[in-house]
């Protein structure tokens, strides 16, 4: 427990540095928010008035501290474009992306674990080659293309699933599953590819270790060896990869969101960058940095659960 608190404490400077970097990088972006907001017809006076209203004429340090102060109080600020609270914007967009990310992650696990384990259990057989083939496809097919093909097949030709869009789960659970299934499968399939290879190689390595040979010599059944002895040891690198993958999914689903027209978190950030909505971008990136940190802490805890040899205490020292 103490260690978890320690880890959380260590995360605070990381988030602080992220906040400064995001803030400064946005300042480097060419293009003035006031000009973008007011558009082509705006007169120079109107642009100046807008800059004043948005507080863009204040010194950078003041702007930064003002934003940070609000963030520390749980107020992520107001969108420069239309004054909506960024808290609301994020709350509106986050569920879709969380659902997408965890759904894709689940699909990836469901494909990768059986495929990887089977491959490792029967190396260089037809099954192994088949699984390798599947993950090769997953790695080489761009998932936006796969997404498009899925839409054309299931929505346009067969007409059994909607082509795109998103309905929140609590509005209509059935519609929600219908809209989410294609994007989740298309993204999950790609993510499964790397994971399958990871499971396979990690399993193979473990299968060649001494204790497995001992287990075999002892005459244990194959299933017991695979699932009881090998799998848990093989999971460590897989958990690491999964953690990185999940963190990546939480921030990087823009393409899936665009193809399937899902109003998600990635699109919020991209749209806000193009609108020069600095406050929204800053706050949204900070929130996703928090996610990455949380996922990493969760991964550390999982290590210990899966492999008691890894004591959280030791790591701290």
């Amino acid at each position: 427990m103490k260690i978890i608190i320690k880890r959380i404490a260590a995360a605070i400077p990381v988030l602080f540095i992220v906040s400064i970097m995001v803030f400064l990088m946005l300042q480097l972006l060419p293009g003035d928010p006031a000009t973008v907001i007011l558009g082509q017809e705006a007169t120079p006076e109107a642009v100046e008035a807008m800059r004043e209203q948005l507080g863009l004429n204040q010194p950078l340090l003041i702007q930064y501290l003002h934003w940070l102060g609000n963030v520390l109080q749980g107020n992520l600020g107001q969108s420069l474009v239309d004054g909506t609270s960024v808290n609301d914007l994020i709350a509106e967009r986050l569920p879709a992306t969380l659902e997408l990310a965890f759904g894709s992650f689940l699909v990836a696990l469901l494909i990768a674990l059986p495929c990887g384990i089977l491959s490792a259990a029967r190396p260089n057989t037809v099954i192994d080659h088949f699984c390798t083939f599947i993950s090769l496809i997953g790695m080489s097919i761009p998932h936006f293309w796969l997404g498009m093909m899925c839409i054309i097949l299931f929505a346009v030709e067969l007409g059994i699933l909607p082509a795109s869009g998103y309905v929140p789960f609590f509005d209509d659970p059935v519609e929600n599953l219908k809209t989410i299934i294609l994007p989740v499968v298309a993204t999950g399939f790609r993510e499964s590819a790397v994971l399958t290879r990871m499971v396979r190689s990690s399993m193979l390595e473990v299968m060649q270790s001494d204790y497995i040979r001992t287990a075999k010599a002892k005459g244990l059944g194959e299933r017991t060896i695979l699932f009881g002895h090998a799998l848990k040891n093989a999971m460590i690198p897989v958990i690491t990869t999964s953690g990185i993958m999940l963190a990546g999914l939480l921030g990087g689903l823009v393409i899936t969101e665009t193809i399937f027209n899902i109003p998600g978190y990635g699109k919020l950030i991209i749209d806000s960058v193009f609108n020069r909505d600095f406050i929204t971008v800053q706050s949204a990136i900070l929130v996703s940095a928090v996610f990455v940190v949380v996922v990493n802490i969760a991964v550390d805890i999982l290590y210990a659960l899966v492999d008691p040899r890894i004591r959280l205490g030791k790591e701290g020292a």
Partner: protein, 510 residues
């Protein structure tokens, strides 16, 4: 722990499969017919501001057509027709407009529409922070004569006024709603239009419901109107094909030819009032000499540009006005044939026979890129080496306004009065004169033309202005793009309008 993994997998797999089948099964039953009472329209962009006063984006105006009525409207031929004003008079000197308002009209929140409401709106649009200020600049006073008569006093005759009132400057917002919370209004618009705003989810959709008390009899025809935001044209198209949307507002150009014989939808392809082209910075050393600008104009083959970059969907152009305008002049707008020799000669006269190089700034839209690539090739023939620099539109606009560029692709969506396509672009020191162009003769004509009420006289002047612009070439007109809609055959009652807007009031779903 021994069998836990097995257990988990064996439990999860059938579960997921069952879920998949369940949702697929339900899908088969439900997705085909959704009742016919909801019309879904795909928009290419999420409208940023649903307040006509604050709005600057083209796409806002699409939604406004359903939520707001205007004092006057445009018909499909471009004539100005009654809407909230049943009739109007203009004084002979053009400085007094009297509007007689429709009676018994109510805003969606129950507020009554009357002369006071008109006064409130027009005065609000004239405020400093309003983006409509320029369109109503000439209006000095709004007077309530009686509850249903309102008078606009102008300091100078200003002919584009009525045309401006067919657009955002003439849209009537509920004074009650605006006064209650002006900052919120742009996300909760309240008008008198055929559909009332219900809710929006940013980046996703905007839902409107039927205005049961609409003043036009038997309209609107649908119960619900949903604008779905689909930023990718191909995504919008598959949704049109699968029936999830009934209309899309930006049909992917390279699909137009293939879709001519579609069973389920039609492609509507109409010239827009806007123009696309290249801004040349006349304050820059490279483009100071008119002959250089003329040489670039001569070296271009506009037909090739349109057929390569737009798959032929667009109209090669040489002036600011397209066929949709009453001041259009076919001879002036006709794209001249490419003339390499003439261009070389002009360059030589300007002392640049060896050619030169410059950088064009353009946005990230694939079409702009392709246009630039074609131009790059064509200019090579007269030894001009054009570099292409991509940037997002915000940066492009910012640099354009600051004059920090040599050449740039900045275009205009167009306005119904010719003044709206010319004055703010080519008059000295105006907001969209990125070219830093200044010609006193043009300035004088622009000022004179907006003060006259006689359309024929104005037409002559605008044509004179455009002739001068083809001589001076501060802006290289390339083409007018087309408004290309995809419309499901289930929808009846849509009539294209020269302003390129989708008027939903009479649209009906079979």
């Amino acid at each position: 722990m021994k069998t836990s993994w097995k257990k988990i997998t064996s439990l999860l797999l059938p579960g997921i499969l069952a879920l998949g089948m369940l949702s697929a099964g339900c899908g088969g039953g439900k997705s085909s017919g959704s009742g016919g009472k909801t019309i879904n329209i795909a928009l290419h962009q999420d409208p940023p501001k649903l307040d006509p006063m604050m709005s600057t984006a083209f796409v806002d105006r699409m939604v406004f057509q359903s939520v707001f009525d205007k004092l006057v409207d445009l018909d499909s031929k471009g004539n100005i027709v009654p809407m909230l004003a049943e009739k109007w008079e203009i004084s002979p000197d053009g400085k007094k407009y009297t509007f007689h308002l429709r009676k018994g009209v109510k805003f969606h929140d129950g507020t009554e529409f009357n002369a006071e409401a008109v006064k409130f709106n027009l005065e609000r649009y004239k405020q400093k922070k309003s983006n409509r200020r320029n369109e109503l600049k000439a209006v000095t006073a709004v007077k309530v004569i009686d509850p249903y008569t309102v008078e606009l006093d102008l300091d100078v005759p200003y002919a584009p006024l009525l045309a401006n009132l067919t657009d955002r400057a003439g849209m009537m917002c509920s004074p009650t709603a605006v006064k209650k919370d002006e900052d919120k209004f742009l996300n909760h618009p309240v008008g008198t239009g055929p559909y009332a705003f219900k809710e929006r989810s940013k980046g996703n959709r905007i839902v409107l419901v039927k205005n049961k008390d609409y003043w036009k009899k038997d309209s609107p025809k649908a119960d619900t109107l949903v604008y779905k935001i689909m930023t990718d044209g191909n995504v919008a198209l598959v949704n049109l094909k699968s029936g999830q949307v009934d209309m899309i507002n930006r049909f992917p150009l390279n699909e137009v030819k293939k879709s001519q014989n579609e069973q389920s939808f039609a492609v509507i392809n109409e010239p827009s009032p806007g123009f696309k082209g290249i801004v040349l910075n006349t304050a820059n050393e490279k483009f100071k000499d008119k002959r250089v600008r003329q040489a670039i104009d001569k070296a271009l083959d506009r037909n090739a540009i349109v057929s390569v970059a737009l798959s032929g969907v667009g109209t090669p152009a040489h002036s600011a006005l397209s066929k949709s305008s009453w001041a259009y002049d076919e001879a002036l707008d006709k794209a001249p044939a490419q003339d390499i020799e003439g261009a070389k000669k002009l360059l030589a006269e300007a002392g640049k026979a060896e050619g030169f190089s410059f950088t064009i700034q353009t946005d990230t839209d694939p079409i702009s890129q392709q246009v630039c690539q074609v131009i790059q090739k064509q200019l090579k023939t007269i030894n001009i080496d054009m570099q292409i620099q991509k940037m997002d539109f915000g940066t492009l606009l910012d640099r354009g306004k600051k004059g920090d560029f040599e050449a740039a692709t900045i275009s205009w969506s167009g306005r119904m009065d010719p003044d709206g396509n010319l004055y703010d672009w080519f008059h000295t020191g105006t907001s969209m004169n990125y070219m830093k162009y200044s010609n006193p003769a043009v300035d004088e004509l622009l000022e004179k033309a907006r003060g006259l009420t006689d359309q024929n006289q104005r037409k002559g002047m605008y044509q004179q202005i455009m002739a001068q612009l083809s001589e001076d070439e501060p802006y290289i007109f390339l083409y007018h793009d087309n408004n290309v809609f995809g419309l499901s055959k289930k929808i009846e009652g849509f009539v294209p309008n020269p302003d390129g807007m989708i008027r939903t009031v009479d649209m009906m779903k079979k």
